[in-house]
């Protein structure tokens, strides 16, 4: 009996040990990049790691979307079963860091010079308490216009430089019988557009005060009221069926020429590429009028968990590969975003990507790189969602005037803080 038990234990230990040895050479990754282009982009990273002898293991997530992944992550962390890394957004990284479950990559960061190459605004989310806890993968920017060139030529429009130009352009499209503005009436899309409207109406200083610092005076100011009025003006140019539409369907309207323009982050470019459209000849990318020189960003990050020491080598390899110039370039060319470090050559990028890289660098140097409130980079999720509620209720008419909208915004943000 005792012998059997001993043998059993020995066997179990051996199995456990051998399983462990495999773990050490394995990168366990939780992410929701499963669609064609994104998965292809991630394969580059898998290849890079395989060259160094690390196997890639996806942590399965039922449901696909980011919300499901975050729920799964919460459960894994609560059970003490950390993945090597997880795709994460903004304040989530800081929440987990505050809970003390994130690893420390400061040594690697120093060696690789991340402090200098990663924009300071991003480091707010990837560095916690002086320690590097996440590796940013990309920088998306939100204040873009995506325009169908054929429609633009037909109506004889030119690049709008101010908000009034933009309204005039939309009027032209309306007169020509095209849907002027393609919008998906879901709260995050409306709020994403409103981010740009506020930056355009109030300027960079105002955007930062209101949507990054949550300054009360700015939130209730007349400028904010004016921003809501401008949003209301834009909403008059959408088609009656906009409510509830997915963002990629709105992009498809522009691609097909049913609509002139969409205000959306640069992930929309992926849809244009998938439809074999080239920037400059088929579609145009301009900064949202009146926001040239500033960038409202959000960023995907790989949060690095506090894994046992024997798994740390794999984690360091992952982080190093993620922020390597070659991967940053290869991945972001496909994803539509721009590299998360400012020293990556832009040779492989298309015209829009080149502009994005130049804009990011200029905004980083000039201090006009701001987190998007709608995308959860301006304030914690409770506040960001309260903001989306107000914007969406204003767009759909539950909140009727811009006066009321401003009052509600201040109230909702105070309540959520």
């Amino acid at each position: 009996m005792l012998r059997k038990l001993l043998i059993g234990t020995a066997l179990a230990t051996t199995f456990a040990f051998s399983a462990h040895a495999e773990d050490v050479k394995e990168v366990q990754m939780l992410h929701w990049w499963t669609s064609g282009g994104e998965a292809a982009a991630l394969n580059v990273l898998k290849g890079d790691l395989a060259k160094e002898g690390y196997a890639w293991k996806d942590v399965p997530v039922a449901g696909g979307g980011g919300d499901a992944a975050m729920t799964a992550l919460k459960a894994m962390v609560a059970a003490g079963n950390y993945p090597t890394a997880s795709q994460m957004l903004g304040y989530t990284v800081l929440d987990y860091a505050a809970a003390g479950v994130m690893g420390d990559l400061t040594e690697t960061a120093k060696k690789e010079g991340w402090d200098k190459s990663v924009p300071a605004a991003l480091q707010k989310f990837s560095v916690y308490d002086g320690k590097w806890v996440a590796a940013p993968v990309n920088v998306h920017s939100v204040n873009w216009l995506w325009i169908n060139k054929a429609v633009m030529d037909k109506i004889g429009g030119a690049e709008p430089k101010t908000f009034d130009d933009f309204v005039a352009l939309l009027d032209k499209a309306k007169a020509a019988g095209v849907i002027p503005l393609a919008l998906g009436g879901q709260n995050w899309q409306e709020a994403t557009m409103f981010d740009s409207v506020v930056l355009s109406t109030g300027g960079p200083e105002f955007y930062k005060k209101a949507f990054n610092d949550l300054d009360d005076a700015s939130l209730k100011s007349d400028t904010m009221k004016k921003s809501f009025d401008n949003l209301a003006k834009l909403v008059t140019y959408v088609d009656p069926n906009f409510s509830g539409r997915d963002w990629n369907l709105a992009t498809a309207m522009v691609i097909k020429g049913d609509a002139l323009v969409q205000v959306m982050g640069d992930w929309a470019k992926g849809e244009f590429h998938a439809a074999n459209k080239t920037p400059g000849t088929d579609f145009l990318c301009y900064r949202f009028p009146g926001t040239d020189g500033s960038v409202i960003y959000n960023s995907d990050m790989f949060g690095m968990f506090n894994v046992p020491d024997d798994r740390k080598a794999a984690q360091v390899a992952l982080a190093t590969a993620t922020l390597s110039k070659s991967f940053q370039s290869a991945f972001n060319v496909v994803k539509g975003s721009v590299p998360a470090r400012t020293d990556v050559p832009d040779t492989d990028f298309d015209a829009c990507g080149k502009k994005g890289i130049a804009d990011l660098k200029a905004a980083n140097d000039g201090g006009t790189l701001f987190g998007s409130l709608a995308q959860g980079y301006g304030a914690p999720p409770a506040v960001a969602n309260a903001y989306k509620d107000v914007v969406s209720k204003f767009v759909h008419g539950q909140i009727k005037t811009s006066d009321e909208a401003v009052t509600e915004l201040v109230k909702a943000i105070d309540d959520a803080k």
Binding site: D67, K74, Q186, P240, N385, H396, Q398, E408
Partner: protein, 315 residues
Amino acid sequence: MSVATSQIKLTPERSRPSVRSRLQDALPKIVLAPSFAITIVFVYGFILWTIYLSFTNSKTFPSYVITGPRAYQRLWGWTFDSDPPSSWYTSIVNMGIFGFLYIAICLALGLFLAILLDQKIRGEGVLRPIYLYPMALSFIVTGVAWKWFLDPGLGLEQTLHQWGWTSFHFDWIKNKDFVIYTVVIAGVWQASGFIMAMFLAGLRGIDGEIMKAAQIDGATTFQLYRRIVIPLLRPIFLSAFIVLAHLAIKSYDLVVALTSGGPGGSAWLPSNFMYEYTFKRNEMAVGSASAVIMLMTIVAIIVPYLYSELREKPR
């Protein structure tokens, strides 16, 4: 146990039946024990845990520091925020509209269809599964199918416009005041066939002699159903009500798939509110408090009803 075995050996003919009968007595308890324990922990244990969390300051992660009923105070404040409607106000008003219409229409339609199918018609074997089939679909599939059908740019309205009826207008799914009724439509479509099957089973169980007796006494068909059949179906009403009530309160996926929350969040139900606040807004205390309020509401409705229905059982 070893003592018991030795006793068996000593006096086999007397104690064997006693052990056997003791085992027989205990067997149901032994078999039920694991599921009982699992239910205690994973249902009632977590109910208590949720109640506990609702009194803490839990945000992203559960926190165990009791900080008082602040979450309830916030919900209470939102309950009266009707202009502009707070998300919580919208959720509970929608629950009222959806719950009432969904249960009432499903019961009425299910009963009506069952009575029609019970008229010894030809092809019942084909018709019954047709009505029953929607129940086999998940809420997600139902939601997406109805989303396309009701979308004015894709479905019904567009089709009728192409056929020439250009004045037809049906945009409830895009309208903040009517979107909740589209959830009712999709929900009723899915569940009424199942309720029909329940009523049909009940109708088949009614003794034909009673019907014949009533007909001999000169009851009209209407009277027959009104006075005899429907009262006899009372236990089916109870089962159907409970099935529908819990489906109504659980409805989360239907709202998400059909409306993605509706224009400006106007299609939210309390379950959407709970999920949003707990998992997306990192306000776990508020989410827990809303879950507790949902539970209390169900208890307040179901318990008196169960009590009044089951009280007369020992007849």
